[in-house]
Structure formats: structure tokens, C-alpha cells
Symmetry: D2
Subunit: 373 residues, 4 copies
């Protein structure tokens, strides 16, 4: 064991340190050995690492460059078939602080998924809540519970827990996008089920918009056949045109003198479940942010972890003590309670997802906004 | 006025009947007189009228013809100025069962409001929740908390409780629409406040869409500046184009074989508050229904009262034992627990509002669907 | 004013007054007659009475003396049998402002119910939510959905909507108590159903406490068989011993220096539904207040109406401009937005019920606390 | 298997196995090395371990004997002082499947805490929600936000997140109890804050019941000073006498022929938050179960993990394929989706806590009851 595991790493380290600080005697040493034999473990030698003063995540702030990710995904496309068993040609961000597990943060999975020309990723379903976000390309349909959903640049697409889904590429071009899931959380809490579905997609048609959108994506209007509150949004695709329009209007309203932006020159929308007004899925929050060139967000710390992807433009993320220049497609991880801020060098469009619904529903939320902190 | 008042009418009648049935003696008569002097009133002589087996509304099913309403509104436009004090040139439906009070049902107010060329209805605000629905015409802006909202055919427009609002007609043509309020309910429960505002509208600009729509009318997207649940929808106008599109899609989905319509050939949407997914205002539900020619809804009884307006087409409302032919603009009142059904002679578009949120939030809801009942 | 009916009275009066103020012409007069024929009613002549600046209830503040009520109830006991049809020997408070209807306030029914020795009030059920509060006596069991519930001084007993219930007196003494219902509200909204049940009570046993209490009245503990949220509390009886203990503890805690009382020397508890923490029934709030001798509550106005009963002690209610001395058993009505305050001459124990859940769930709540208002 | 870390163990194992199954080539090997350098990790080689068909917890079913725990706690009492820094003499159950971390399950901490005669554990507070349950002894007061709470056999005591708390033993006898916390969950999600408080308890008085109970532990009654919904229960102590009475009543009601027990001869209560009717704390459910001698629960699988402690009596836990005899004080861990059932040899009293609120609020709940499964 090279102590790369999470979350035990700094616990065991502290354990050792603590025992050095203790009034170590033979008797105590024998007691601790006895504890170990009986599968017991004292608090007092590791209290400070188990219960730090502020969150002390093992996960570290990190940036993955799209210019690195995409060629590696292409290479995988050449070498690795997609099919039953492996199910998806998805390459996950493995946070360097988490010991090699394929987790962007303790709770969140983020991966680039790559589908070659005419390829099909077979259908399956799982308890894990999933989404896709498309930073470039088009031509793939994801089929969610039998409903074909076109994927295009800027679209945010949902596959809530236990919905069957498969993907098929109808073009002669490959396509890549990012997948976001609560897979680490589900794995950690032992809450996940998985079931294989059809080898092919169950509906191979290629409509411009999904049936879910035709039924649900009308602002402020609900079909009378869908009046119950649902755990997850019934809208399978949040289209770029609408997100872009909402952001443009916020900035225009700001310029006309009305309160509409989150901060000056910072427009932002949250993707929501129209049956509740809340987050799109029980464990995952998703938002889109637009900063005008020159905008700088105040330094913040928030409980819970997040992943950003640059959709367009360039800027700099300040994460703890380091600043990272970012460009289109780059993925940025912000662990819990790390101080962060964003500066836009050009107009900067950012997709964001986080585990905030977990943190909020369980009443752990805290946010600190302070440039001096 | 010869005892046309509501809700005391059948109570007092029953009181008399009951006392005839009682073992009337001088002693008892003296006791009842003593009760009266002390402001007391026995249950046993009127129990059956106070607590009927099923709801026994004083309000009656009734239809007002647009062809009657509109000319009378025009005539009022000629004779009655609009201005401070009276505030609005609104003519209310007075349910014939309710003794002359200007109430469409015990809880709901429905009126035709008429604004002449270049006229302005001054700003005010009140606890009563209000909306407008436009069956024809355009050229008026309603200004809600300073936000100018264009009114056009098919639009559903909100003025939730305690929002300042005024109306101004920018054209050389008159315009009429219907107002819906919970005024009777607020009057009955003694919950209303009223405050005068500006004589003129506070923003005389005439944009195509309101700021509220620019900020809020994006399906599934919430601005980060508005994340709290609100009692009423922040969307000031639900535009006809979107309502119409949602209904068309439901019927198209039905034709493609998918569950999307309420009943075969009956599409329907509910207007909702995007911050909760629930009704647009705490006391008023609003929906739009489209029936294809020939469609017939099953006979239903529901607790609570509703008002329909024909937006387009023609058909027949069966209300209790009577059938009423209806056309564009006609207003139909369905009191509580009256058996009703609708038959569409042409494609029939119907706007509907009701007091269902009151009935549901207070747990009195019951619905009975049965053709044989 | 001879028309005393509610809620039309001041509307019709104002209507007349308003028309006198209008630029009355023959044409206008004809128009108004035309309106009337077509069951229409203009807003502008009566806007101020329909939408007053602050709530202008027809109901008036009023006090009924127990020393008047009880002998009249006894007299009714001598003259009027209790049985099927009339169902209950209940004599309702008829607010003098409401034109003779048996309503304490527009929404609330309050009555003294009297059951002679060995009498039985037959079982029935209705949509109306009901409770009983016992100011003196014992020996009656109310049987709620088959569960016999002993009634004793100080107990607060529930019969939520659509629960079968009957009462039987097992003693040689009469017993009287007050009934509270949302009967006026249910009558007004046309939401009520009624069904006869057994002529005799379905369980004639006379246990000290009900099965509902044995299952539910354990603080902070829920049976695993009852984990769903219920519209109404499953506790059939809130016993005096517990209410009294809770109030005593609040005052003792205050004396020890801890925040526990509502105001200095004013202890108060709300009866709640343990499945939600909210009000006991969807339309009725119930509380118990204890003021130490000399305590004076600040003058308040609240939207919604309430009824108090003095359980013990004596004091004075200031209601609007008048002060009323009150003693054990007296019932006091506080209409909406009337300024009121209470002064305790001795230690003063007060039971209170109101329509606050209606007002709060529908977002009409406002409260103003000010001695100068 | 020597790698015992959680949650990476079977992931890494599977990773290796999967790569053996893959069409391993030099190119692929180079690609995987490239992935590793770039902190990337493919899904397809480990999909089955990351997303098992049903939950595949690393945590194992396990039983700790009180007869082992208590002497070890005593020994720690002899050797290890309690004080600032280590804070508590608490010895945690370390699930053998979780690689040595002091976690009973992935989400739950369970420890025996031991306080010697006249000892004091200093005050602190933390985001972690905590409770204590007392299987034997008395004489310690836990002081929660300044409120002294006596600890006695059978009591369930709360310390919700961010409440200051310390413990002091006023007697000449040691006392031990169990602590339950969501510490693993908080550590895993990086949501925890910690703050030291007073070295001594801030109120050294020793009342029989706490102020929180005096204000809150009245069934169905809420103080008017505490009407908001609270994240955690304001009741600091759920006393044994009340729990026992509730259980006795359920069994008595069953014997009288009424539905009150969870299963025949199986009474159970859930500890709840009286401000919501829900679980006592946002992450932890707690219940008490009583089985009559001979009772056998049906075999169940549930998503989420639980810990039981035998409060009294003896019986057998069937956990997966093994049966464990248990006696007073023994602690039993039931990991997610493990098939389990309980047989009571004598009357068997069981305290239980679990992470069910996490599982339910995030919509991952599933339960399967089947003797054949």
C-alpha cells in the first residue's frame, strides 16, 4: 500500500504523528494493539485530522487542458472499442489528491467521452445521476428511456438515476463531450444499482429536439399529464440557444440599469427542475456563467466541491495560492473550502457543476465571500 | 333586495322549515327568542343546510356571452371615465345565485375591463391576486411594479398581491380583456389591503416583452439573483405563442403514439410559478385547454369553482342538467361539485381559472369522474 | 341598516352611495339597469368597499358570557332531544355583525354543546374540521373513528375532517363544552360533504386515554406504522395535565433567566400535528396562553379571525375602542385587523383558536404590533 | 486481499483484472501510462466495480461484544487522560472491511466513550451531528449550548451540528456510553468545521431534566417562541421512560387487536424532530425496537448502513450468510444491501441508528423484503 487511498491517507499519517505526541508507554502500546485486534480505533490520537478546524480536503485544485484531453480521447478511439461490459469510452479526471481513483472530487465524476463515426454505446441504466455537456461537435443522439435527444454544442443533457440510456453517432465524424456523474458519491455510500439494456439504442430516429422538450421545455407551462413533483427534471436537454439568450438578457438588463446579474458583468443561470424549481437532479447542481472581459469575481470559499469547464473565451482561475490560465474546453476542479476567484480575459463562458444539493439538503452549507480571507 | 344574499339564503329558509318540523312549543319558541337576543343560533334546526351531504352551492352554472359583454363595455367606455377612486372600468360577472354581489363564484371575481384610446388606469396595489387574459386586441401595456408588460391576444398576465400596477392604452383603438381576481375570497376572509399609487404609469415605455420575461421566461433556467421560492410567479406575461406551441406539441406527440395529452384529443397546460413548479399565485390556478373538434370530456365533479373563457372555436358546455352552446369570448362558470363536461364542435381553445389552490392547500380536494354519476 | 347579511351588506350600501356620487345621467342609469339584467356589476361604483384600505370586517368584536350560555344550554337540554337529523345539541355564537348566521367569524364556528345524563349524540362524519375544548365537567366520551376519547376539563380534542364521531355521556350529570369548526369556511367555499354513521357509538368502552394517545402522544417519538405526513394530527386528545405542565415550565424557565415565554409573564403553546410540526388541522390553529396577574400584551392587529375562551382567572380584553371584563368560560371574538390586547387581573388561562392556517397557507398574513397604532 | 483501503480496494483490483481481459497491446499500455501521467483514468476497465449491479459495500457485517468493549474502555480510562486536543476518551468501531479507518460504516461513526469519576471532557463544537445512547450507568451531564443534560440508562441524547458540548462526571463511578456521529460522511464530503470551547463545562449544575426538555418535550405542543422549522430536533434528551412507555403501548394495542406494531410482536418508534416530524438530525435516523421472545423479522435488504445496539435481552442477528448471537451492549453493523433479519430469544430491546436521511433525501432509497431473496 503506497498510501494513495482516499479518505484514509491523512488519517493514518496523523495517527502516527499523534502517537508520537502521546505519553507512549508499553502499556499504552499494548492497549492500542489490543484495540487493533478488536477492530477498534481511538479518537484521541487522530481527532485533529478527523475533525479539522475547517474542511481539509484530500482533493486538490487542478486543471485539465482540453488540448491534452481531446487527443488522448482520440487515441483511445483508435485503440479501444466501445461496447457491452466497458459500456462507454469515457476517460475520467483523477484528482491527484485522491490517490488514483477516477474521481474529480470526492463526490463527483467528470470524464471526456468519445464516440467514433457510426459507433453506438449500448443502453444501460444505473442509480447514478448523470449529465452530458457538449463543448464542441454534434451528430450524436443520446436515447433516454427511449427518447432520442440530439447533442449539440452548448447543450446540457440529463440522464437522471435509473433512466435507460445509450448513445449513437450518426455521422462520419467523431464526437466528444463531458460526462458528469455522482458516481463517487454513490460508490462511497453503497447506494448504486446497475442494469444492462439493449445493445442498440431503442429508438434510432434523429429528431432535432426530444419528446421531453416538446412536452416540458415551455417556460412556466406544465403539461396536465405531469403535475407531480419529480426527483429529477423531466427536461432531457437544455439547449444552448436558450441558455445563451438568458445570459444575454441579464447583461442587457444590467446595462439598462436593472438588477439581473449576479455581480456586475457576471451573468449566471442555474439549470432547474421545472416540477420543483430546484436543482435538476438530487445530487448535482449545474449552472452556466458568463463574465465579460475584465470581470473578476470576489474570492470565495464554499463547502462542497465543483467542476468548471470553459465553454468559450479565456481567463484565469485563482485556486488557493495558484493562478491557472484557462481556455476553451479546460476543466477546473474546485475542492471544498478552497479560496477561489475567476478573472475573465475575454468574454468568458463557463459551465459549472457541483455537489451543492447534497451539501444543502443535509444542512452543511457555508459560504464565505471575502477578498481578504 | 329580497334576501338574495349569500351565503345566508338557504340557511334562513331551512331554519324556518326545520322549526316547522320541530315539536314546537311555547317554551321552545321562547328559548329560540332568547337565543336570538343573546346572539346565539341552534345547530339542530339547520344542520342539513349548513352541512349538506354534498356541496350545495348558492352559485349557479351560468354563461355570459361575449357578444353581450363587449358592447356593454363599449357603452361604459362612452359614459364612464376611468380614473382615481373607481380605478378601473371593469364590469364584473355577478353570479345569479349570489344575490347581486359582483362575484362569478363565491371565491372568484371575473370582469371585462375596457380601456379607450390613449386612456390610462392609474396605479394601485392590493392584497388581492389578479391576472388578465386577452381574448382579442392589443396596444395596452400593464405596468407591474414599474415593469411595462405588453398585452396581446392569448397572453396571460399576472399581477400578484401587493404589486403596484396600472394600465395605459397607447393606441387609437379601445382594448378589452378579462380580469380575474380572488377578490371575493379576500373580501370574505377580511384579508385585504389597498393602496393608491401613481396617477400615471411609472414607466411609459412600450417594449415588446417585459423585463420579468427577459429575466425569467427561459424554460428550466433560473437567474442566480432569484433562487428563493416565491409565493407567486415572477413571470409577468405568459405569451400566446408559447402556450399555443405547448398545446400543438402535445397533440402531435399523441398522434405519434406517446402519452402527452390529458385525454385523447384534449391537450392542456397549467401556468406555473417557476420557483416552485406550483400554481402561479397562492389562490388562483390557471390553465389552457385545447380540444379537437368532436372531443368530449368525461363528466366530472370537482370541489371548488372555476371560470372558463372560450378563446377560439365553438362547443357546448354541459353544466348540471343543461347544455350551453359557447363561442369565442364567452365566459362559463362552473360552481363546486356541479357535474360538467365539454364537447368541442370545432377545435376549441379554452382558458380556465379556478380556486383550486385554496381547495388543495386546505385539503378539501375531491374529484369524481363518471359518466354515469 | 336592516339588511344584516354577510358579506353583501356594506357592498350594497356603498353601491348606492357610489351611484349618488357618480355623474348620474339617464344614459348611465339605463346602462346600470342593463348590467343588472345581464348579471353584471360595475367595479367603479363600489371599489372602495370591495377593496378597503385595510380589512373592514362585517364581523364585530364581541363577548359571550359563560354565565349566559350555560343556563341556555341547560334549558335546551330540557326541551330539545338530541338525535339523528339535528345530530347535536349545539348552540352557536352568531356574530352580531354577520346578520344572524350562526358564525362566530366569517370562517369559524364556535358553539356550546350540551349532553344530558346518559345521552348519546349519534355518529356522523363531515369534511368540516372540528375540535372540542372542555372548560368544565367530565364523563363524556367522544368516539372518533371507533376510538373512545375521554373528555375532561382542560382537554383539547380533535375530530379532523371526514373522521366519524359520536359522543355519549356515561354519567348522571350533564356535560357541556365548546365545539370549534371551520363550518362557515366550508359552507362559503362549497367544499363540504356529510355522511351519517351509527346511531350509537361504535365503541362504548370508557378508557381513561384513547388509543390514538397511546400510539402517538409520546414527545418526539413516532410509531413506525405512522411515518407519512398527515393533513391533521393523529392525536385525538391533548390533555390538560400536559398543557399545564408546558406552561408552568415556560414561566419557571423565564424566572430562571432563560428565553421561554412569548412575552414577559406570558407563556404560550401551540397545539401541533406531530407528523409535520404544523397546525393540528389544515384550517384551524389552536393555542393555549397563560398570563400572570398584571401582565398586559402589546396592542396587536392580525389578519384573520380568532376566538378566545377564558379557561380560568379573570382579565380584560381591549377590542378596538372597548374594554370587556372576562371570566371563566367567557368567549371572545377578535375579527380580522381589530386592534386588541389582553390584561390579566388574576393569573389568566386562555384557550384560543383561529383561521391562521388559511391566512398563512394562502400568503395573506400580516401582523402589526404597536401600542400607538 | 491485503489492500484494505476504502473505497479504492476493489476498484484497483478490478482495474488489474480488467486490463488482463483487454486486448492488451503495447500501444494500449502506453496510452494507459499516458492517462496516468495526465491524471486520467479510463472507465471501461473498471466499470463493473465502480458501478456494481447491486451495492457492493467494502464495509462488512460485524458484531462487537460489549464484554470486550467495556474492559478496553476501562483500561483506556486508566492509561489515557481526557482533555483538550484529544477531547474525548472515545474508542471507535473500525469496520474490518474499511481498511483500518475508525468508521463503523462508510458514513457512520460509533464509539464507546468512557468518563472516569469526576472527569470532565472539555467543550467544543463541530459540524458533525452527534448523539449519545446510554446502555448502562448514570451520573454524567452533557452540557449542550449551556444546557446541562443528565445521562441515564436508556436515554438518547442529541448534540446536533455546531452546538457546543462538554461532559462531566459528578460521581465516584465511571460511566460509559456510545457516541454516534456522521463523522465519516462529513470527513468524506469535506464539510466539517471544528471549534474549541470552554475547558470546563459552562454550566455545572445537575438538574434531572434539561431546559430543552422543559421547553420542548410535551407531546404535540410547541412553545410560541419556537415556531420555525429547525434542521435538528431541539429536544436534547429522549428519556427512557417515554420510549419504554411508547413501546409497551404498541404491544398492548396489538394484543387488544389494533394495528400499532410494525410486525406482529415487533414494536418500534422513531425519534423525531418535533418541528418537522422528520428525523432528529439531517444525516442520522435513530429508532428503538422491541421484539418479543420468539419474534423473527422478515429478511430485508435496504440501501444505506445501520448500527444496532442491544439494550436488553438476547437474540440472533442474521447478517448475510452468518448468524451472530447478541447480548446486552453488543453493537452490530449492517452494511448497505446486506440481507439481514433478527430473532429474539428473550424480549429483545434494540437501539438503532442509520444514515437513512442521507439516502432518502437524495432519492437513493430502496428496500427489499423477502425471505427467499
Amino acid at each position: 500500500m503506497t498510501t494513495t487511498d482516499q479518505p484514509t491517507d491523512h488519517v493514518s499519517v496523523t495517527n502516527t504523528m499523534a502517537s508520537e505526541d502521546s505519553p507512549e508507554t508499553d502499556q499504552l502500546s499494548r492497549l492500542y494493539k489490543h484495540f487493533e485486534r478488536e477492530h477498534l480505533n481511538p479518537l484521541w490520537t487522530q481527532r485533529d485530522s478527523l475533525m479539522p478546524t475547517t474542511p481539509a480536503p484530500s482533493a486538490v485544485p487542478f486543471v485539465w487542458k482540453w488540448s491534452t484531453l481531446y487527443p488522448l480521447a482520440q487515441r483511445a478511439g483508435d485503440l479501444v472499442p466501445v461496447g457491452r461490459g466497458g459500456e462507454r469510452r469515457a476517460i475520467a479526471l483523477a484528482n491527484p489528491g485522491l490517490g488514483g481513483v477516477p474521481y474529480a472530487t470526492p463526490t463527483l465524476w467528470a470524464a471526456i467521452q468519445y464516440l467514433g463515426p457510426k459507433e453506438t454505446a449500448p443502453e444501460h441504466r444505473h442509480s447514478q445521476n448523470a449529465f452530458r455537456f457538449v463543448v464542441e461537435g454534434e451528430g450524436v443522439w443520446t436515447v433516454v428511456n427511449g427518447d432520442p435527444v440530439a447533442m449539440r454544442r452548448g447543450d446540457f443533457l440529463l440522464t437522471p438515476g435509473w433512466h435507460f440510456h445509450g448513445h449513437h453517432n450518426e455521422t462520419d465524424q467523431p464526437m466528444a463531450w463531458i460526462d458528469g456523474l455522482d458516481l463517487p458519491f454513490v460508490h462511497y455510500t453503497d447506494t448504486g444499482f446497475f442494469e444492462f439494456g439493449s445493445e442498440c439504442v431503442t429508438d434510432g430516429s434523429t429528431p432535432d429536439i426530444s419528446r421531453s422538450e416538446r412536452l416540458w421545455a415551455h417556460p412556466g407551462l406544465r403539461p396536465l399529464v405531469g403535475l407531480d413533483a419529480k426527483a429529477s427534471s423531466p427536461i432531457a436537454a437544455y439547449r444552448w440557444e436558450r441558455t445563451d439568450a438568458a445570459l444575454r438578457e441579464q447583461l442587457a438588463l444590467q446595462d439598462e440599469g436593472f438588477a439581473a446579474t449576479t455581480e456586475p458583468d457576471h451573468a449566471a443561470v442555474r439549470y432547474t427542475n421545472p416540477t420543483t424549481g430546484g436543482d435538476v437532479m438530487p445530487t448535482i447542481r449545474a449552472e452556466f456563467h458568463r463574465l465579460r472581459a475584465g470581470a473578476l469575481t470576489p474570492a470565495r470559499r464554499t463547502v462542497g466541491s465543483a467542476v468548471y469547464q470553459v465553454f468559450d473565451g479565456s481567463g484565469r482561475f485563482r485556486l488557493g495560492e495558484h493562478t491557472h490560465a484557462v481556455d476553451k474546453g479546460d476543466l477546473i476542479v474546485v475542492p471544498s473550502w478552497v479560496k477561489w476567484s475567476i478573472r475573465a480575459d475575454t468574454e468568458l463562458d463557463l459551465f459549472m457543476f457541483s455537489d451543492a444539493p447534497i451539501v444543502e439538503r443535509l444542512h452543511f452549507i457555508r459560504t464565505l465571500t471575502t477578498d481578504g480571507a
